[in-house]
Each structure stands twice: as C-alpha cells, then as structure tokens.
C-alpha cells in the first residue's frame, strides 16, 4: 500500500477576483489563504506520514513567480524535507519553466520534472517501488500531444503514477492548448493513478484508470465555489484504492441565490437573506459570498432602490477575528413573470435568429468587439472570447433587450 497526497493548481500568491473595499484584515487573510492552504496540505502530509506528495502544476500563479510565493513554497518544501517526504512537481501553463536561475532553488526532496516527459523511480518506506512520470510546461501553451511521450507502465514496479497538467479532449475545444489527452490514451498507459491538474473544479475523470483532478487548493473568485483542498490517495496492490478529498482552503466562495420574488417588504427580505447565508455558528470556513437577490418586477421603486443600495447588504457582513462571512458580490435581479422573447424576436423571428447565430460565431462576435479586443493590449488578460464567453454575453444582451422596455 502506498499513500500520497495529490494536489494541483496551487496558484500561490494569486489575487482574488471581484473584490473591492474589503477590510484590511480580510485582505490580509485572503493574501495568506493560498499559503495557508498549502501549509495545511504539508501538515497533513507530515501528520499522515504519506509516502510522497505530488503537485500537478500551476504551483505559482504567474510565470515570474513572486518572491513571497517562492520563499513560502520553499519553506513548506523544507518542512517536508525534514520529514523525509519526497515531492514530485510538474509546472503548468501558469508557472511554466523559464530561466530557473532566476528562481529560488528547492530542497533536495523535491523533484521538478523537466519540459520533456521524464520517469523517476523511488522506493517507499514500506519498500514498494513507485515510478512517477510527468513533464513540466516549458511554455505557456502545449499543443503537442505530450501524452504520447509517456512510457507504458513499468513491469518491475509496484505502482506507476502519471502527473499531467492538461485537459481532456472533447470537453471544451478552447483548452486544446493545454496538453490535450483522451481517456483512451490514459487507459493505454496502464498506470495505477493519473494525478491531473489544470481544471480548478474537483472531478473524477475516470475509474479505470484512476484519474482525478483535485481542483485548486483555494477558490479565488466567485466562480470557484465550494470547498477546496487536496486528495489523499491510498493505492493497494490487491484491493481497491481509497481516494478521499480533504478541505484545506480557509476561505470558501459560495454563490447564494435568494428568491424574494414573493416578498415585498424590506424586513422580510432582510431576514430571508440572513437565513440564506451560512450560519456563523456552524461555519467552518471564512466565506466570500456572491449574493443574487431575486425580486419581482413589480417591486416598488423605493424598495428596489433601498435593497439595491450597498448599505442594505453591509449589515450582513460578519467579521470578527476568527471568522468572516463577507458578501463580495451583490446583485438584485428582477424576475419577469412571462416575457421570454423580445419584441424584435416576435416581429422578425427569422431575421432575429439569423443575427443571433451570426453573432455567436467567432467571426461575427470578434468583428463586433474588435474595437476593444484588437486594440487594447489589456484584452489579453481578460477572458477569451470563447464559445462560453460569447454565449454568456449574448445571453446578457438579450436580457438587456428585454429589460429596456420603455
């Protein structure tokens, strides 16, 4: 039996998105959160006396890793070194290998995989031999099928583990730049476990072979909701593996939708919001809440105005030394009872459909938005105009159209 921790997408020192005017103390806690999560993982590794730890890419948030991130990561790796726990690291698209001379060196227990597929072997405390194969990103995008370079399972060893920072083909084409692979390709290698990275949502890719995305270790925006952490993997020679998720993130993003369509007085809405938020007593984490308050379209103007004000929601912030529940995002949406189509659509259904399909195509969409996206250099740091993005924007536009009734 071998026991190891599989974590990925640490994004150390990564900033959180969509936050403004937070108390300084919370900002500090947020800045510490990725490190804290890592520290928790390292503590768990030492405490559970695991055989080794694997990090499947994106240790750092940026290619030019921040000094703080490097110093902290090194410190944690030294703790593992002291406990004689080996660490296997691959770098991902966010922290691809550059000039290593510019980076702090890591202690000897850490093996960083090269830009081409490598295989290392080790013998655990229990005497089992383990082979670990993997590669690090040498540049931001890896379009080659690196999966084909992975060797077949070694026959002379007890366990073979693959580290891969990449994306399963066919799910979403825009990830084709990130070391694409197929399930069949994984299967073909015959490994005992695939420690995947890149996707921030925790998921089991397959049972045969075992392949997991552990998700990132700390949610950093309102889309990365729920508990975040690492996987404790126990592989056994003659029994089924045990893979268990452990939460290590101290701050949890949560989307809370409050349906107040039927309510039309402020107290009731206030109370409903209070009830919908995580309770302070039972909360295990700090929470950053993305709150959507749904109200009726017929709601009184004055009430709508009041509940739309920031002050209305400020009362729901909870912040004490040991605990915070902060509403980072607040949106009031009026739910229209019937109108599903816009007038334009009713009047010119064919033309309307044609336009929509035109705009959802890359060409039409990009042409329309070229003014910004092709002229501002900052368009690079924004979301790509992917299918999802286009669809989302069109959805938004349609809702705008509907709302713009005179």
């Amino acid at each position: 039996m071998i026991k190891f921790i599989h974590a990925a997408d640490l994004h150390l020192d990564s900033p959180f998105s969509g936050l403004k005017s937070l108390p300084k103390k919370i900002v500090e806690m947020i800045q510490q959160s990725t490190f804290q999560s890592l520290a928790t993982i390292v503590y768990s590794a030492i405490h559970n006396q695991v055989d080794f730890v694997v990090f499947s890419g994106d240790i750092y948030d940026l290619e030019d890793r921040s000094v703080k991130a490097q110093v902290q990561f090194k410190k944690e790796m030294e703790r593992l070194n002291k406990a004689k726990i080996p660490v296997y690291i691959i770098h991902g698209n966010h922290d691809f290998i550059g000039d290593e001379k510019l980076h702090l060196s890591l202690p000897e227990n850490v093996k960083v995989f090269d830009a081409s597929v490598e295989t290392v072997r080790m013998t655990t405390k229990g005497g089992e031999s383990v082979a670990v194969s993997g590669f690090s990103y040498g540049e931001r995008w890896i379009t080659e099928r690196m999966i084909t370079d992975y060797p077949k399972r070694h026959t002379q060893i007890d366990f073979h583990i693959g580290l891969l920072h990449g994306f399963q083909e066919g799910i979403n084409s825009e990830h084709a730049r990130y070391a694409p692979f197929t399930l069949d390709e994984l299967k073909e290698k015959g490994y005992d476990y695939w420690a995947l990275g890149h996707i921030h949502v925790r998921s089991k890719v397959s049972d045969f072979p075992l392949a997991y995305y552990p998700g990132n270790i700390q949610g950093r925006n309102k889309k990365e909701t729920g508990e975040k952490g690492y996987l404790m993997v126990e592989l056994k020679k003659n029994a089924s593996a045990e893979i268990e998720f452990y939460s290590s993130a101290s701050i949890v993003w949560e989307k809370v939708v409050v349906d107040a369509v039927k309510l039309n007085d402020m107290d009731a809405i206030y109370k409903l919001i209070q009830e919908s938020l995580p309770s302070i007593e039972s909360a295990q984490f700090h929470y950053l809440i993305s709150l959507e308050l749904q109200v009726s379209e017929d709601i009184k103007d004055t009430l709508l105005k009041k509940i739309s004000q920031d002050q209305f929601i400020e009362a729901h912030h909870f912040f004490e030394d040991a605990q915070f529940i902060w509403i980072a995002n607040y949106k009031v949406s009026q739910i229209k009872s019937n109108h599903n189509d816009s007038d334009l659509q009713s009047l010119f259904p064919e033309a309307f459909q044609e336009v929509l399909s035109e705009l959802s195509e890359e060409e039409g969409f990009n042409e329309l938005t070229t003014d910004f996206f092709d002229q501002s250099k900052f368009s690079r740091i924004l979301e790509e105009r992917s299918v999802t993005y286009r669809e989302e924007m069109i959805r938004e536009a349609l809702s705008e159209l509907r709302n713009q009734s005179i």
Binding site: S17, S66, V71
Partner: protein
C-alpha cells in the same frame, strides 16, 4: 385578432360601461375630454397590464368605484372568441383569459394570443398617431430619413432608438481613441498599475542579486570589523604602555639595585634550613626534658612490699618450698578423696546392717563351713522332697475321698431302685441271667486321663513359666471341670437305667444288681487305699520332724539370735558374707587415710621456716593455701618490678638517642653558619636580611613586569609623547573603519528590508491584488460594453435582415398608398443609401426631409400602413389610430379614410377622432359617439 367588445368595470371616467367594436373599421368620435384616450388606454391596459407605479404612463384608477379594470372580448383566427379580463390585483392587475371552450388562462396565454409582443411594440407599431411628424421641423436630415425609413421598414423608429441607446451606452463605456469613457479610464489605470507591477516584478528578479549583495556586504563588514578589532588591540597596548611608562622607569632602577646586592654565597634555602634546624633543636630539647621527667617518675614510683622483703630474705628456701607445693597439693587432694571413700564405705555398711537388722555394734557371726553348708543344703532338699510327697499323698487322699463319696452316692441311688433280694430272686428265676455291660470303666478312664493331662499341664505351666500363663491355666481348669462334669453325668445316667419290671426291667434290675455289687466292691477297695495313704503321710511327717530338730540344734549352735529359717539360711549367709567384705574394705581405707595424714604433716613441717605467715592453729592445708597466696603475690610484685625496670631502661635509651640527635643538629647548624661565612647566628640573620631585600625587589620587578603588556617590547617609543602620537593615529584609523562599517551596515539593512519586503510580498501581492481588482473591474466594464454592443447590433442587424426580406413589397404597397393619398402626384418611393426619395409624376425626385408636412404625413402613413400590411402574416393586431390627420386637406383626409377602410378588410382599425368627417358614410355599428359627461 379583432376587438369585439369592451366591458369597463371601472377605468378613469368610465364605470360599468360597454362598447361594441365588432366592425372592422370603427370610429370612436368625441370632443376633447370625451374619454377617447381613456378607452385607448383601457385597451392597452387590459391587453398589456395596468401601468405600474413607476411607469411614465397615465394611470386610470377610477376615483368613484372600487372596481378597477374590465374585460375585452376578442375574436381571433387562432383562438376564436376569447374574453380577456383584467382586474385589480398585483400592480399590473390580475388577468383571466376565458377561451371559447371554457378553459381559462392567465398572462402566459395572453402573451401567446398577443403574438408575444409587448406594450411598447404595440404602441409604436399598431397604435399610431402623427405626433412624431409634429417634430419633423426639429429633425435633422438623417433623423428625418430614418424616421421615414423605419416607418416603412420597421413599422416604428422605436427599435432604432433603442439601438441608439445601447450604442450610446457602449460608447460611454469605451471609445478606441477616447479618454473619458470608463473603460478608457480603467485602461489608463491599468497601464499605471502594470507599470508599477513591472517595477515590482523587476524587483523580484533583483531578489537573488540582492541576496548576493547582502552576502558580499556581510563579508566586507566582517573584514572591517576584524581590522577594527586588531587596531583596538594595538591602541589598548599603547595605552597600557603609556600608563606603565613610570613602571618601566622603576624597573630599570630596580634592576640596577639588584645588581649591586651581592648575595652569591647565600643559598636561598639556607635561611629556611637554619630556621628548620632551630626548630628541630627546640623540639629535641623539649623531648629530652620530657624523657628525663619520665625517668625520674619511674624511680619514684617503685617501692617493695613487706612480703617481698620476706621473700627476698628467704628467697632460696621459699623457692624450694614452692617447688614442693605441687606434690603437697596432690597429697591433700588424695586425702580428701580417701576421706570421702571412707565415708561412703561406712554408709554402705550401715545400710547393710539395717538390712540385716543388725545394730551397728553387733558382732557378725563367723562364716559357715563348706560341710555345714552341704548339710544345710541336704536338709533343705530332703525337706522339700518330703513336703511335696506329703502334699501329693494328701491330694490322692482327697481324690479318693471324692471317689468314695461319689460311689456312696451312686450306691444310694442304685439302692433306691434296687429290688429286694427276694423279689430279684423271683425275677431271676423268671428271667435268665443276661450279660451286663462293662464299658463304664473304660469310659471313665478317658475322662480321668484328661484330668491328669490337665493337672500335668498346670504344674508344667507353673514350672516352666510359660507365656500366657493365665490363659493356659484357665484352659486346664476348664478341661478338669469339663471332665469331672462328664464323669458325673455318666454316673448319673447309669443310675437311672432301671425300674422296669418287664423282662427288660428284669434285665435292667439284673444289671443294676451287678453294678451295685461292683460299686460295693470298689468302695471297699478305696477305703483300704485311703488307709495306706494315711500311713504313708504319717511316715513322711515323722521324717520332716527329724530334719527340723536337726536344723533347730544347728541354729542354736551357729546362728543364735538371728532371724532366719532353714529355707532361707543360705541367702542370709550370703548377705552376711558381703557385709563382712565391706567391713574389711573400710578398715583398709581407714588405714590408708591415716597414712596420708601422717605424710602431709611431715611435709608441712618444713613450712614453719616462714611461720610469720601462719597462725599456730592452722592446719597443714590452710598453711599451704596461705603460702600459696603469699607466693603468688610475691611473684606478681616481682613481675611488676621487672616491668618497671624494662620501661625505665627504654626511657633512658631514648633519652640518650635524643641527646645524640641534638648533637648532630647542632653540628649541622654550625656547618650552615660556616657556609654563609657567619660566625654567629646574628651575622647569619643579617646576611639573610639583605637577601630578603633583594628578593623583594625582584618580586616587585616581576609584578611591575607583569603589569606591563606581554609584548610591550614590540612598541618602539622613545618618549611618552611619541606613544601618544602613535595612539592618536591609530584611533583616527579606527574611527574611519567604524564609519565605513556603519555605512555598509546601513546599506545592508536597507537591502535586507527590501528583501524582507519582497519575501513578505506585501507590496507585490497588494499590487497583484489591485491589478486583479482593476482587471475584474475592466472585465465587468468590457462585458457591459460587449453586451451593449451586442444589443444594439442585434436590433440593427435584425431590422436590416428583416428589411431585406420584406422591404421591396412594403415599398410597392407604400407607393400605391402614397400615390392614392396624393391622387397620383407621387408615384415612386426610392431608397438609396438609407436616404428616402420620392418621385412625382413629373419625374422630380424629392428627399423626404424636403417635403412639406402635408406631404410628409401621407408618406409616413403610407409607409407605416404598408409595413403593417406586410407583417400581417406574422402579427395581426387591431390598429388603433389616434386622430392624426388634422394637417391634411379635406381631399387627402377623405382619401385617408378610404384607405383605412380598405386596409381594415384585413386589419381591424379603431379610429379615435374628433373629426366629424370621419363619421361620414358609416353605419351605426361602425361608430361610437362619446359625449362629454
């Protein structure tokens, strides 16, 4: 869809009012304030909802009635007759749709019935007035153009306005070259943030350099500190040198003085030796005094006793006596022992005499001779023999007596049964004599033998002293008794065997007779035996008497006065002989005791030489004891004396030794004095005083030298001024180094702070977070920009495509309508590059914006009606026209009504007017006349 009836429960001024609009073309006539607009609003409200509070529309909640709302009955190609009722409820009112088949529905169904269009669209397309035209003068050419264009192409300009709003919003967010729009501002901010971040990033790259720099600085500082330390040591040395400058001078002086003091002859140790010797001499003299005192003590202590003096006077003879003491002691012990023996013998004799009942002084008879003893034995034997013979005979006699009495008894019995002689004889004759039995005697013999055996047994038992004597004798006695009983029984039986007088009785009698005779015979025989036994006994008794008289005579001769009998006389004699032996023994012991006494007396006579020791009456034994005590004491005293002698000799010897030692030491002292060249101890001591002075000086010199720094010789300085100058120079150097260390340290600290900051990442992390915040802000804004762009684009493009599809036919219709309205003056409408031209029958083109109001209005209406006509396949709704044609001349107005009537064949038209002309040639069902209330 057509509106058939209105049933107003309460709406504005209308309470519980119904209207019938069943005809395709219906005019609602009324002056201002008659309620036309209220009816129009009622239709809008029932179909699309009551105006909400925040709507710009007028609200018509009845003032006098609590019931708000009403019902519209419509007829629809798709749904048939449908009743739409809306009453007060939620803000837009509660709708109930009742279908022909009785099913009901609400908003969703209504929405479907209304083709999914909303109030805005309906108002802008199907419910038109010409108020827009009123503003024609204010419009720009482009606006004007679009106004006409959209009327034909889109039915309304509303969409384009909407598109414009979105466009404006988008432009407000971003312009590629702008500065003011939000995104442009954010971009600028981001630019700055990025620059700051680039700076921070470059600092990140610096990090490793900084680490190295700090390392370098550390080394530099260390080096400097080392130099500084060395310099300080040198300064210290100089300072000490300066301080000790005086000492250096003193040292020189001392060295000179020491040289002058010549003490070469004097050995450093001699003084110590002298002192030691003096001490030794003192010790030894003390020792001698002690020893002498001890010796004197010994002499005083010793004085002999009177006993010793006596001893010393007769030493030889006393010693000779003492030699004999051992043998005398033996004699005394022997004497004591013998005396005890004698006492024991006396006691023995006394005991024996008491045993023999002899008094202590009674003479013991002489011993019996052998012949006498034999005679006595013979007598005893015969006596015993005869006495046992008598006993035997007496026993026989007793037996015979028994037999006789038994026989007599048997005879007596027989005689009872015995017939008289005559009778017998008679019977004898009668019966022949028969043989009689004889077995009896044999029988008895058996029993007798058993008795005999038993007797023998008893005797033998007593003689042989067998074990279980009692048991045996009991057995024998029981045998005897058993036999006797058996005999008796047989006898008895025999006696019973008679009494029958038959032949048998005769035989029996005969037998008895014969027996009787036998018994008688036996009885006689036994009597004679008895007589002979008696005589035998008498003989034996006579013989015993003879012996007895012999014995009596013997006793009187030999043992008169002693209590003894013949049978025990021998034993008595035995005891007597023992007594005689004891007395002989005692006599022997007594003699020996006397002998011993004499010997002892003789021996002790010698001791009278020391008669002082004894009293006159002392026994030899006492004398000896006293002498022994005396001798013992003397001996002890002598021993003691000897001990004293030894000890005093020892004391004298050690005294001599001490005196000897004293001499040796004094010699040594003399030698020391000679060595030092002194003739007396005083001189010697003086010399050593000088030496001490020198030593003190040397000591001081040493201390002074020690005070000086170890290697002060390194310092080359002629004067104290020179030293001070050197010191000053060095201190300057140190100062320089300190300054440089300070600046290095300062630099190092700064870099370290920098490193620390980088490691903590505060600044960079904050920047990252700020950048991220800006970024997400930008994302939001861009999303909003994209959304607005999309929205406006969707509208414009949809209209464009729609126009492409329907426009040609719409223009043809519009041309027809326009031509009709203008009585053929204008025949063609041309659209060119978004500009609307019209062609008159003379071949002149006019731009739409150049037209007079009287012409522009018909053009607009023509385009609008053409549009409505062309979308009727998609949406067919009643057209509400609000009295627009005031600017038309009579002719054109008449034609307009005609045109409307014509169009109403496909699209219901409800015309609201205060123009009476509009009522011309209408049937009753086609008009509703409102009068002011």
């Amino acid at each position: 869809m057509k509106i058939k009836n209105l049933m107003i429960y309460g709406y504005g001024k209308w309470i519980d009012q119904t209207f019938d609009f069943s005809s395709d073309f219906h005019v609602v006539f009324g002056q201002n304030e008659a309620g036309k607009s209220t009816i129009m609003s009622f239709i809008h409200s029932i179909l699309f909802g009551f105006p909400t509070r925040h709507s710009a529309l007028l609200r018509y909640e009845p003032k006098d009635s609590s019931r708000y709302g009403g019902k519209i009955i419509i007829e629809d190609e798709r749904f048939g007759i449908v009743s739409i009722e809306r009453v007060q409820g939620k803000s837009t009112g509660d709708v109930t749709v009742l279908m022909e088949d009785g099913t009901t529905g609400s908003e969703a169904l209504l929405h479907k019935i209304l083709y999914g269009i909303d109030r805005t669209l309906y108002q802008s397309v199907f419910s038109f007035h010409l108020k827009g035209i009123e503003r024609v003068e204010d419009m720009t050419k482009d606006q004007m153009n679009r106004y006409f264009l959209s009327a034909g192409a889109l039915g309304t300009e509303q969409f384009l306005q909407k598109a414009d709003q979105f466009k404006q919003k988008a432009n407000g967010l971003y312009k590629p070259t702008g500065r003011v729009p939000k995104i442009n501002q954010v971009l600028k901010g981001l630019e700055e943030k990025q620059a700051a971040m680039e700076l921070a990033k470059s600092k990140n790259a610096e990090y490793l350099d900084l680490l190295q720099k700090v390392e370098g600085l550390n080394q530099e500082i260390e080096e400097q500190e080392r130099t500084q330390k060395e310099l300080n040591i040198r300064i210290q040395k100089l300072k000490q040198f300066e301080q000790n400058f005086e000492a250096v001078e003193t040292i020189k002086q001392l060295e000179k003085e020491i040289e002058q003091l010549n003490t070469s002859k004097l050995n450093e140790n001699s003084l110590y030796e002298m002192n030691t010797l003096n001490k030794q001499i003192e010790d030894i003299q003390k020792e001698i005094r002690t020893q002498q005192a001890l010796l004197k003590g010994f002499e005083e202590e010793y004085e002999p006793t009177s006993q010793l003096i006596l001893y010393q006077e007769h030493e030889q003879s006393i010693d000779a006596l003492a030699v004999q003491i051992g043998s005398i002691d033996d004699l005394i012990r022997e004497q004591q022992y013998v005396y005890k023996e004698l006492e024991k013998a006396e006691q023995e004799i006394t005991k024996k005499r008491i045993q023999l009942d002899l008094s202590s002084d009674e003479q013991v008879p002489t011993a019996l001779t052998k012949a006498e003893k034999e005679t006595l034995v013979e007598w005893q034997r015969e006596m015993n023999h005869k006495e046992s013979g008598i006993n035997l005979l007496k026993e026989k006699l007793t037996t015979i007596g028994f037999k006789i009495s038994s026989l007599e008894e048997s005879i007596d019995q027989l005689e009872q049964n015995l017939w008289s002689n005559e009778q017998f004889r008679k019977e004898e004759d009668h019966f022949e004599a028969k043989p009689a039995t004889r077995s009896q005697a044999i029988q008895l013999k058996k029993e007798m033998s058993i008795i005999l055996v038993s007797i023998v047994l008893i005797i033998s038992i007593f003689l042989l002293d067998l074990p279980f004597m009692l048991l045996w004798s009991l057995l024998a006695v029981s045998l005897i008794i058993g036999s006797i009983f058996s005999i008796w029984k047989k006898m008895h039986k025999k006696n019973q065997d008679s009494a029958q007088i038959s032949y048998e009785d005769y035989i029996h009698q005969k037998e008895i007779r014969r027996q009787w005779r036998d018994y008688l015979f036996n009885s006689d025989k036994l009597e004679s035996e008895k007589q002979s036994l008696h005589s035998e006994i008498a003989i034996l008794e006579t013989e015993i008497e003879n012996i007895q008289s012999g014995w009596t005579k013997f006793k009187e001769d030999r043992l008169a006065g002693y209590h003894t009998v013949l049978s025990t006389v021998l034993q008595f004699e035995e005891v007597l002989s023992k007594l005689r032996a004891s007395e002989r023994e005692r006599d022997k012991v007594r003699d020996y005791l006397e002998e011993l006494k004499t010997a002892l007396f003789l021996k002790t006579e010698q001791f009278d030489q020391v008669s002082e020791l004894f009293f006159e009456e002392d026994t030899p034994t006492e004398k000896i004891t006293k002498f022994k005590t005396f001798y013992q004491q003397v001996k002890e005293e002598r021993n003691q004396l000897q001990q004293y002698m030894i000890e005093s000799q020892e004391a004298r010897r050690s005294l001599n030794r001490s005196i000897e030692l004293e001499k040796t030491i004094l010699r040594k002292k003399q030698q020391l004095l000679q060595e030092a060249g002194a003739d007396s101890e005083e001189v010697f001591r003086h010399l050593y005083g000088i030496l001490k002075q020198k030593n003190e000086k040397e000591e001081r010199l040493k201390v002074l030298k020690e005070q000086l720094p170890e290697n002060h010789s390194e310092i080359k300085a002629d004067s104290i001024e020179d030293v001070r100058y050197q010191e000053k120079q060095l201190q300057q150097e140190v100062l320089n180094i300190t300054t440089s260390i300070k600046s290095y340290t300062q630099e190092k600290i700064e870099i370290e702070v920098h490193i620390k900051r980088l490691e903590e990442g505060g600044e960079y992390t904050t920047l990252l977070q700020e950048f991220e915040n800006e970024k997400s802000h930008l994302q939001e804004l861009v999303n909003s920009w994209v959304t607005n762009k999309l929205a406006s684009n969707i509208i414009e493009k949809t209209l464009k495509y729609a126009r492409k599809d329907r426009f040609p036919q719409t223009i043809v219709d519009a041309e027809n309508y326009f031509s009709y309205l203008t009585k053929g003056k204008y025949t063609k409408i041309v659209i060119d590059d978004e500009t609307v031209f019209i062609l008159d029958n003379e071949g002149h083109y006019f731009r739409a914006d150049e037209l007079s109001r009287g012409t522009a209005e018909p053009l607009y209406v023509a385009l609008r009606l053409a549009f409505i006509n062309n979308i009727k396949d998609t949406i067919l709704m009643p057209l509400l026209v609000d009295d627009g044609f005031v600017n038309l001349d009579w002719t054109r107005r008449t034609r307009m009504y005609e045109l409307l009537k014509e169009i109403s064949q496909t699209t219901q038209i409800i015309y609201f007017s205060f123009d009476e002309q509009s009522l011309e040639s209408l049937e009753d069902g086609q008009k509703t006349i409102l009068t002011k209330v």
